[in-house]
Amino acid sequence: MKEHETLEQRLHEQGVSRRSFLKFCAAMATMMALPPGSATAIAAALAKVKRPSVIWLSFQECTGCTESLTRSHSPTLESMIFDMVSLDYHHTLQAASGFAAEQAREDAMKEFNGKYLLLVDGSIPLKDGGVYSTIAGRTNLDLLEEAAKGAAAIVAVGSCAAFGGIPNANPNPTGAVAVSDIIKDKPIINISGCPPIPAVITGVLAHYLTFGALPALDNLGRPKAFYGETIHDRCYRRPMYEQGKFAKTFDDEGARNGWCLYELGCKGPTTHNACATTKWNGGTGFPIEAGHGCIGCSEPKFWDAGSFYAPLPAPAADVTTVAKAAVIAGAVAAVVAGAIDRGKKTKAQQSREKLTVDDLKGE
């Protein structure tokens, strides 16, 4: 395996003009939410970088994250981003299979030891020795620990890899955990979402390439540039929220007028992601624009946070039954206490000595 050439050489060989490259960098700047003027700086940096080796491990996942990524913008732009890295192992996308595929992974790990980028999607099952998900006869835990050793950094793609996601939801039958629950000694960047916005995945890759380091992260390990604000912060329906204009059902007058979806279960106020600005499907829109509230998929435990259609103030567990039982318990307690009181009263009355006329005379 030869040492990877620089991106500029590679693009030049392919006959990509400098202007195309600049346009690509402008798109990159938009994608990374950097100031638009930085396109030139990005171009200068990208021209010089060596394409890093990337190993992508897929564990307990639905392939939605890979689907999301491979749908990122046009084939051309996406291929340019992929051109920036050398994807040496991805068992869904690579042509090789079987032993050859596993060989490619091992080769890359040896050759670029300490330098490759490890991308992971899916959670890792730990229960019963990790038997619930294996690749080539090895458990996910085993593969992850081995691959993490030589990685420069790990990118956890999707809510499953970042926080455990759906496999980790109650009752978590496979004992699924996130990458960060296992690997403690490597920089980990979480790109959460179910799936994450494709532009965010590529944007983070581009950032790593451009600046040679991971972007600034929030306290959950997510890049601040994309997860720094909530959906609610940037939602175009926000003025409706402030004015108290809430749609009550999905087909009422309010819903048709584009009113706020808070009462229909929108989790936008507690969800950090870039959907409201970066948008989906090549910038066409995002769920709230399509009339559905945010389900909070980029936050930990989103699957256990009560119904997607229950408004945020509604309890996340059954309080009504608890309250009903409590009424009975309280009443029983009171009746018991009342009976004890009455017992005491009667006893006190009985033990009271009657005052007689003779007593008074005796005084």
Binding site: N219, L220, T230, H232, E242, Q243, G244, F246, Y262, E263, P269, T270, E299, P300, K301, F302, D304, A305, G306, A310, P311, L312, P313, A314, P315, A316, A317, D318, V319, T320, V322, A323, A325, A326, V327, A329, G330, A331, A333, A334, V335, A337, G338, D341
Partner: protein, 218 residues
């Protein structure tokens, strides 16, 4: 972490708080009622019921008769209670909660009204606290329960107002703080003076009933 905390206060925490509150309140109120009063052997000169109910209703308003307690205390107390009542029962988000728990709902009040009620209520509380410190009689009469009750009722109002305006912290942090403060109130209320939120009506009824029985017009 934040999400987990929020989930806890919206789930298990709320269940615990609701259970303690309901058990505590039902127990204390029924207990009071069961204590009862000795049957009066005198001939009634009026109805206990009409007297009791009338007093329960009438005492909800500021009247000149009450000013023996001091006009400031009565008026500020009234403002606080009404403001608290309006924000509690007429903010959209709260109605969402009642609908989810009780299955009942009613129209909300506009945000401007709620905002005003909350601000007035908070101001009244602060004024009452200051007055409690300044007024020698009140200061002498106050014990730790009074200050505890003040804090427990003030926190939900304050965090709720901050949440509506997103002041100081992120929405998710404010929401967690707000719910947690309410749960604290729920858990402690039945066992302190705050139980007056229900017992006050019993007390008024007894007062009114005694007067009604004796035929006193109030």
């Amino acid at each position: 972490m934040e999400q987990e905390l929020l989930l806890w206060v919206r789930g298990t925490g709320l269940q615990i708080a609701a259970a303690v509150f309901v058990i505590g309140m039902v127990y204390r109120m029924l207990h009071i009622l069961m204590l009862g009063r000795k049957k009066s052997l005198a001939a009634p000169r009026g109805s206990e019921w009409s007297g009791g109910l009338r007093t329960m209703w009438k005492r909800s308003f500021v009247t000149t008769k009450l000013s023996a307690r001091g006009n400031f205390t009565v008026v500020a107390g009234f403002i606080f209670h009404i403001g608290f009542f309006i924000t509690l029962f007429f903010l959209t988000q709260h109605i969402d909660l009642f609908r989810a728990v009780l299955g009942l709902h009613w129209p909300a009040m506009p945000r401007g009204v709620i905002d005003m009620a909350a601000v007035l209520s908070i101001a009244a509380m602060v004024a009452l606290l200051v007055h409690r410190f300044i007024d020698p009689v009140k200061r002498l009469l106050s014990d730790y329960q009074d200050y505890l009750s003040w804090i427990l009722s003030f926190l939900p109002l304050l965090t709720g107002f901050m949440l509506l305006r997103e002041i100081g912290f992120e929405y998710i942090t404010l929401l967690t703080m707000h719910i947690a403060s309410v749960e604290l109130l729920l858990v402690i209320a039945p066992f302190t003076k705050l139980a007056h939120m229900f017992s006050t009506f019993i007390a008024r009824w007894y007062n009114g009933a005694v007067n009604g029985f004796k035929g006193i017009e109030i």
